[in-house]
């Protein structure tokens, strides 16, 4: 892992390969009561791609990924994941789909009453229905090693720092080998060094497990490190799209305000 003073280069553009679309969203609308949160959201996520969604708080960034995983139903529009319409799925189909999607919550959402090991065993025994103790141990240790927290295997979540909780949360989602990762503000509340480590980890894991990701954030350093493409959201819609370098030169005032933050 890079030290705090080392400069991390922005993500290199991925080599040209067959771009399979894993998430296709078209004209998604979502309201809560009278407030329309998503006005007209359209995007495609390609296999192996990292999309970063930037935007102020309360603009509907998290609502978008909650719709992708079926936690919320869009009011209108088309939302397909792996070519299947999420809005028309039965509970069983949704369960099958969720096994292919990892969701990292803001606080890690670790199960408080379980140790780190039990947290990681939970999806293996309940979702993948694994029974072989050796296989379970191997997977748990392997994924914890990948996030650099093998030492914390028998600790309770209350003994972990914010960054460690996010890493364990990440390990818990990765353990079922998801094809898509949805990150809900993965670096919020962390110090700059840990934020950078988490951002690097997201890239490393993406390369290792060939995962497509949507990263919701307002941390520009995280966006710079992880994004293949950035979508900027404002008032329920996307106002700009492009790579970090492209958007850095944008004329749009809102977009510029993100890139001109004091570091």
């Amino acid at each position: 892992m890079k030290g705090p003073d080392e400069h991390i280069e922005p993500k290199q553009e991925a080599p040209e390969t067959k771009p399979e679309v894993v998430i296709h969203a078209k004209s998604i609308k979502k309201s809560f009561g009278k407030k329309q949160v998503l006005k007209n959201i359209s995007f495609d996520l390609k296999r192996g791609e990292n999309i970063v969604v930037l935007g102020k708080s309360g603009q509907g960034k998290s609502v978008t990924i909650q719709c992708v995983v079926g936690m919320l139903q869009p009011d209108a529009g088309t939302l397909e994941v792996f070519g299947e319409d999420v809005t028309a799925m039965s509970d069983d189909d949704l369960k099958q789909l969720r096994m292919k999607i990892g969701f990292l919550f803001q606080g890690g959402a670790l199960y408080d009453s379980m140790t780190v090991r039990e947290n990681l065993e939970f999806p293996l025994t309940r979702v993948l229905k694994l029974k072989d103790k050796k296989e379970i141990d191997k997977k748990v240790e392997g994924v914890l090693d990948a996030v650099g927290l093998l030492d914390a295997i028998d600790k309770m979540p209350s003994y972990l720092s914010g960054g460690m909780r996010k890493r364990v949360g990440l390990a818990r989602t990765l353990i079922v080998n998801p094809e898509i990762m949805l990150y809900d503000e993965p670096t919020t509340g962390l110090d700059p060094i840990t934020s950078r480590e988490i951002s690097e980890l997201i890239n490393r894991l993406q390369r290792k497990y060939e995962i497509s990701s949507i990263i919701i954030t307002h941390d520009m350093e995280c966006a710079r490190i992880t994004a293949d493409r950035i979508l900027v959201m404002d008032e329920g819609g996307y106002i700009a799209e492009g790579s970090y370098k492209e958007l850095e030169k944008s004329d749009n005032e809102m977009v510029r305000s993100f890139f001109n933050q004091p570091s």
Binding site: R98, F103, A109, L110, V127, R172
Partner: protein, 259 residues
């Protein structure tokens, strides 16, 4: 404006009834959905049963003592002092034991389930289970409701026995009665029609405690304040349900057994 507010109040009330029914159907479907969480069920039985035993025991013991001390002067004035063991055992087994145990459990268990699930909801742990493809209702709700339905009757039976022991000690403060004579009198005065309705009633009390605790926790809003509200609301609602169930159960029992 008043009519509109009243209408919105009714609508909320109807919606909450709908939510209760949906939650019950989710619970019921998941009992038979396969993959029952035995280890979590046993853990909950331990948490709910064993950890409440001391509190139920002490309260029942005091209740048994107090009842004897309160009943004694009245029964002496009626010349029916020998009826004290019988009166105590019938009162304890039929009514006071089950209700006191259930109310204690509403305070201790419903609030703890409400707070635990509420805090899991606030910290997105339930959402995390759901989006991982696991079944939070089966893991969190089914196990807790079945554990309370199973353990609260057991606690009530243990509480009844300890209450009778308290009564024996209170009786011996003023009179002298042998242990075997006292318990023979207590047990001889009880029959099937005293025991069965009491046990059935406590199963329903246990169900109410677990169900209300899980419902309130599972449906709590975001924010730490909601955890306290969920816990508080679980105790109040579960206590209310215990008295409603008790009133209905007494009517049914009277119709069936004490015509």
């Amino acid at each position: 404006m008043d009519a509109q507010q009243e209408l919105s109040g009714w609508r909320k009330w109807m919606e909450s009834i709908g939510d209760y029914v949906l939650f019950f159907s989710r619970f019921f479907r998941n009992i038979f959905a396969g993959g029952f969480e035995w280890s979590e069920f046993v853990r909950q039985c331990y948490e709910i049963g064993y950890r409440s035993m001391m509190l139920v025991g002490i309260t029942s013991f005091i209740m048994g003592m107090v009842l004897i001390l309160q009943l004694r002067p009245s029964l002496i004035s009626l010349g029916a002092e020998s009826m004290l063991p019988k009166t105590l055992s019938v009162a304890l087994v039929r009514e006071i034991g089950p209700v006191i145990t259930a109310i204690i459990c509403a305070g201790k268990i419903a609030s703890s389930i409400g707070a635990e699930l509420g805090s899991m909801k606030v910290t997105e742990q339930i959402d995390a289970m759901e989006v991982s493809g696991a079944n939070p209702v089966q893991y969190l709700v089914v196990t807790r409701i079945l554990a309370t339905s199973f353990m609260i009757p057991l606690l009530a039976i243990i509480g009844d026995a300890i209450g009778l022991l308290g009564g024996f000690l209170a009786l011996n403060l003023t009179d002298s009665i042998s242990f075997s004579l006292y318990f023979n009198k207590c047990i001889a005065s009880l029959d099937f029609t005293d025991l069965l309705p009491a046990v059935v009633k406590t199963v329903l009390f246990g169900f109410a405690v677990g169900f209300v605790g899980c419902y309130k926790g599972y449906h709590s809003n975001k924010g730490t304040e909601s955890v306290g509200i969920a816990a508080n609301s679980a105790v109040v609602t579960a206590s209310l349900w215990i008295f409603i169930i008790d009133a209905i159960a007494v009517q049914i029992t009277s119709l069936l057994f004490y015509k």
